[in-house]
Symmetry: C2
Subunit: 365 residues, 2 copies
Amino acid sequence: MAEPAASEDQIARLRLIRSENVGPITYFQLIARFGSAGAALAAIPDLAARGGGRSPKLASRASVEREIEQVARMGARYLFLGQGLYPPLLAELETAPPALVVKGHLSLLDRTGVAMVGARNASAAACRFARMLACRLGEAQVVIVSGLARGIDSAAHDGALETGTIAVVAGGVDVFYPPENEARQRAIAERGLLVAEAPPGVEPRARHFPWRNRIIAGLAHGTVVVEAAPKSGSLITARCAAELGREVMAVPGSPLDPRAQGCNQLIREGATLVQTADDVLEAISPLRVRPFRQRELDYVAPAASADPGEEDRRAVSGLLGATAVPVDELIRQSGLPPATVSTILLEMELAGRLERHAGGRVSLA
Amino acid sequence: MAEPAASEDQIARLRLIRSENVGPITYFQLIARFGSAGAALAAIPDLAARGGGRSPKLASRASVEREIEQVARMGARYLFLGQGLYPPLLAELETAPPALVVKGHLSLLDRTGVAMVGARNASAAACRFARMLACRLGEAQVVIVSGLARGIDSAAHDGALETGTIAVVAGGVDVFYPPENEARQRAIAERGLLVAEAPPGVEPRARHFPWRNRIIAGLAHGTVVVEAAPKSGSLITARCAAELGREVMAVPGSPLDPRAQGCNQLIREGATLVQTADDVLEAISPLRVRPFRQRELDYVAPAASADPGEEDRRAVSGLLGATAVPVDELIRQSGLPPATVSTILLEMELAGRLERHAGGRVSLA
């Protein structure tokens, strides 16, 4: 099936999100401020100058057209936030990816999803358990979402390959990582659904994985953690799910098993202990009929806020350091209007001087 | 140390609780109705006749005096509910034992107690875990209460033998059960505290064990379950603890391990997942300063309730069957005043026609 040619607006959206120093938050703020991706692209150089840096490198029209062609050639397609088939549950995230590259059966996005994540070095017993759990959930028409990592992720995908599974990869949909999962990744593209935030060809780097985890949690009604050590990536996914108000579930284990401690800790913190597919189905059932809070992209430029003065910029910049602080805290401590702080951070980010972290926190880059 | 001679009232109390068909509930109702154990003993034959049976066999003065002598000879002593050193936490039970036989260090009753119970056929790893947990809790001045069974109970006692442990046995303090625990039972009588509801010489029977479990839970600020199958006796102890408003804690395990399923289920139902002694100490800490609801024995005869009529007796008796029903339900369905239903049940119990079960339920005997 031929991919319909991208609209001018979609080309501009891709250029914006593929530009240097533009993440989802900056993207949304630019759209909200300038009304469209095209207008935002035009405004960036000036903003960056005010942020105290050179203009970030903007993605060229030619590079984005090459990407669109590549995506079409590999039989993949785009989903744009707020349009068409973009998954409403994922759209709820404050950091929802503005564009996704997907390959496979889009109809899987229409079913109740459960994320299953866990240790890459999980025990054989835990992997078998994860595969069985995924299989039982699949029989109950639940789609299994995971991250195609070694261990639990792979087992979960395998268990649900027949019934429906979605793999969210940290790099491009055409990059096989880990390498030994190539056959699995191909099988999921064929029979399930591959989802990537990155354009094709991107090799995943360490910083991509926590970012990717928010998409796994965001696509699912609930997240089940199977065997996870404390401070592991699986717990980041669980935290994302909790922040989204989704169900967090964990499979317990003996306190003598270090690989169970993350799960046991989650349960202590309020996650639902699950032992069977029925436990999972029971936990997510209220969500099945939950009305989605569909995120609306605000394309109408808001009332122009007073442009920040140099003094305001110094005040905010002075409050920032290497340690990430919540934006709310900056607003409180600076005493400036939220819109002003937001604009200053936007300028700084575009100038490459600001880094955004999970949970609405920022630090100097 | 010579045991002080028992008072006349204590002799009457022992005669009453050692009499046929008199359990703690009946005991309290008789005391409340007749003002003293002595008066209750005198009233029983008449009550039983009205309950439709012959008088229960009353414990003779001679037999109780022999028991008192035996208890003194073995270096044990009595604790009577509402008097002296009787543990206030245990006194909170609706079914608090009217008299306990204890042997060992009574000062242990004065410290914060945690019950540790679990499977008799527990895994070696779980037994080692239980021993370590008891040891750590002991180092924190917590007394470990358990039931001297095989498996987890034995491990818990062993871990706390140095620091303080209380064993509640289902038979007499001088009966070694299970036989292989004789040395352990002797060691606890020497260095810890042995507690029995039964008089010396009584061999434990199956029905004694669930009854005994309420004392384990009742003596402790919280109960930790380590490895327990569903429907096991350990879960009865946990349920008793929950009904008493005490902290229920469970050590999780893999869903693949059948011996972990009882614990995992408890956690699903709201028990606190514990992995370490610190987790246990944290869970019970609010209780350490909790004001005790000291149970007062009501020795003043209440306003004489209207004696039940024959029709009332038939109504209540007609509602009873082989399946245990809550007394509240009998009151609701019969439409009779609670005092009347209570008197009818008392008469029937003394006549040997009624059996009392956990949770305030009754059935035909």
